[in-house]
Every structure is written in C-alpha cells, then in structure tokens.
C-alpha cells in the first residue's frame, strides 16, 4: 500500500515544488519565455535545462535496473513514428499554452495559488480531453 502510494505522491510533490520554485505557476513568466520577439524572459529555459539534465542521467541509469524500485516492471512508451496527429496535437497544445501561459502541471499546481482561475483552466482542459475521447469513441 505505502509502496504504491508514496512514490507517486512524493514525485508529484517534488514536481509541484519545482514548478512553483521555477516560477512556472506564474503565467506571466511562461508567456515571457514564449515572447521571444518581445520582452524575452529566459527563465523557462533554465527550468527545462535543469529538468532535462537530471532526467538524462536517470535514463542512463534505467537500463541497468532489472525492475523499478517500487514496481514489478518498467512500462514505458515505445512508439517512434511521427504522425500528423502528433504534430497537429502538439501545435494545438502550443497555441493554448501561448494564449494563457499555462500547461497541465502548472495549471494543477496553481490550484493553491489562484484557485478560481486555475480551476477554470483545469476544468476546461479536462473538457477538451473528454471531447477527444467522445469524438474518437474510445
């Protein structure tokens, strides 16, 4: 029980702390990074850089482990093909990200910073996800 609940809770908590510390729960900071041709704020590049470097080390370590520490096996994505769906979806996501300066992680984390605003974003995001599921009949 503890083995199942604690790792995702600890991971989420570290993740949320990192988002808040890095300023990602402030849409103005995120839009500042996307404002490349205006008043550019490079902070998000440092957030991405720090996260990618640590995670790259984890990826080097992962193949040497027979199994994860608290689970039976690794269950990782293995798709490699580039599809119009992937690119179109990423483009739509990027437009939404640029419009309000929020993506899923900061949206959920910001529920304790600006509850009403973050809740509108998160509910609309879930509605968008539900719409895709509805249309695809999955």
């Amino acid at each position: 029980m503890i083995k199942r609940i604690l790792p995702p809770l600890a991971s989420g908590t570290l993740f949320g702390a990192g988002l808040a510390l890095g300023g990602m729960t402030d849409p103005a900071r995120v839009r500042g990074f996307l404002d490349l041709f205006g008043d550019w704020d490079p902070t998000l590049a440092f957030v991405m850089g720090g996260a990618v470097i640590v995670m790259a080390l984890a990826w080097r370590f992962q193949p040497r482990m027979a199994a994860p520490l608290f689970a039976e096996k690794f269950a990782l994505p293995n798709r490699t093909e580039l599809t119009p769906r992937l690119i179109g979806g990423a483009a739509l996501f990027g437009i939404g990200w640029g419009v309000a300066g929020l993506c899923p992680g900061p949206g959920v984390a910001a529920l304790v910073i600006e509850p009403a605003s973050a809740a509108i974003f998160v509910v609309a995001m879930l509605a968008g996800m539900g719409l895709v599921r509805l249309i695809e009949g999955a």
């Binding site: 990192g18 808040a20 902070t43 990027g94 437009i95 959920v108």
Partner: protein, 149 residues
C-alpha cells in the same frame, strides 16, 4: 542572481526548480517505472484514458502537485502570479486538453521525459509546441491582445 540584459529573469530559481522537476520525473521512472507526464496522468485520474499507471497512483501524483506548490508558497511567503480572465482561461484550457490528447503529451511528458530520452517523437512534439506558443504570443502582441493584467 540576475542575467545581464534580462532583468526579469530568475536563472537560479529556474535551475533549482528544474532540478526538482527532474528529480520528480526520475523518481517516477526509477521508482514506479513510468513517465511523469502530467496530461496523461490527469486523463488517467479522471477516467478519460485507461492506459498507464493505476488510477490511485495518478490521483496521488496529481494531489502532490498543489501540495508541493503550497510548500514553496509557505517557505517563500507568497508567489507572484497573474492569470488571464475566465474566458481566456477556458479557451486556452480547451485547446491544451484537446492538444495533449491528440499529441500524446505536454511539456512534462514530451518536453522533460521524452527530450531527455532523445525520443524523436518527443523532440518533434516539443519543437512544435514551443514554436506554436511563440507564434501565438507574437501574433497576440501584434494584434494588441493583452490577456494578463
């Protein structure tokens, strides 16, 4: 610390935050054997997708996000944040929700976990959403649309 030429930037806080996010994703990978992709986890928790981690694990991760942010708010004595109005947030949320399902991920799954794994799909997705975000902000600025107070 400030960056010459960028008085608003917070490089050290950004790097520190990024390292925490990297540790979080590493813990998910090496501890639970899974990708810390927030959009997929949110869809899993709410029953909008069925693959991936268990529903209870997904809820625990999601619960942790505001919990971790709250710790930083309490330690720092408050964080700056300015949000767009409800209509803008709703439109943006819809686009983000649709886009992450079609594109199989967001800034965390593709941008952090996939790019660091040198996944071709994730690198293309990340370049695409960054370019779309930059173009969107540039277009809104050109049109005089100011969404943040």
């Amino acid at each position: 610390m400030t960056l010459p030429g960028f008085p608003e930037a917070a490089p050290l806080a950004g790097l520190g935050g990024g390292i925490l996010i990297g540790l979080a994703a590493a813990l998910m990978l090496l501890g639970a054997g899974r990708i810390a992709g927030v959009s997929g986890i949110a869809a899993r928790a709410t029953g909008l997708s069925s693959g991936g981690m268990s529903g209870s694990s997904a809820w625990m991760f999601l619960l942790g996000l505001p919990l971790g942010a709250l710790v930083v708010v309490m330690l720092s004595g408050g964080l700056e944040a300015s949000f767009a109005n409800p209509w803008v947030l709703a439109i943006a949320g819809l686009l983000v929700g649709i886009g992450t399902r079609l594109g199989s991920g967001c800034t965390s799954g593709h941008g952090v976990c996939g790019v660091s794994r040198l996944s071709q799909r994730s690198i293309v997705a990340t370049l695409t959403f960054m370019a779309a975000g930059i173009a969107t902000v540039a277009a809104m600025n050109a049109a005089g649309l100011e969404v943040l107070p």
